[in-house]
Subunit: 125 residues, 2 copies
């Protein structure tokens, strides 16, 4: 049970998916869950990490690929990657000595869907 | 100069609009601007306020309509409304003795567009 090869803390659902907040009043519980995910992304370094990983080959990157472009230390980058992984926006996989992080596009899309005022049935205003 | 009828601090653009962060690596400046807007919404009370205002008649509501549903004091609600207004997500207008707040749907949509992994030309994956 403790032998899993990856270290993802909890495969948490990324958000109180996906009813747009402009469609009906958010419950306190849904608002708390959504705020947690938004807090995970509401950081300049974490936004750049998501963007770097998303645009890397296969939407997957090693910590060793990410420290240089950000100009941050590896422990700092690892901390930010952990926050994003715990929020369900990245998955983590160990390959040899390095951890590789892969974007979970549906998690970002779920956030986008909640924020958008354009419900699937609506034409853009 | 100080006689403006509304108290909006700066009609700030809501985000470093609107290239998706999954399309190209975010610059440090774009990441900082986007993080500021996301921080404004990454709060349970502010998410509920956005949702309440969006679903109110005319997507506009008086502070006096918002304190009850949230169970928060008027100063607290006013603080959260100020943060959202400064982030460009609401506009504020004084009508008689009350301030009314109106959703800026394009500001939420700009946030959604930046987060979405589905660029306008892409079919959903």
């Amino acid at each position: 049970m403790a032998t899993s090869r990856t270290l993802e803390p909890t495969p948490a659902p990324a958000t109180a998916c996906c009813a747009p907040l402009t469609g009906a009043p958010l419950s306190a519980e849904a608002a708390a869950a959504l705020a947690r995910t938004l807090k995970a992304v509401a950081d300049p370094a974490r936004l750049r990490l998501l963007s770097l990983i998303a645009t890397h080959e296969g939407a997957s990157a090693c910590v060793c690929d990410l420290t240089g472009p950000l100009g941050l230390s590896q422990p700092t980058v690892s901390h930010h990657l952990k926050v994003l992984t715990e929020a369900g926006l990245l998955t983590r996989e160990k390959r040899g000595t390095w951890a590789y992080f892969t974007l979970v596009p549906r998690a970002l899309d779920a956030l986008a869907a909640v924020l958008s005022s354009r419900t699937p049935g609506n034409a853009p205003a």
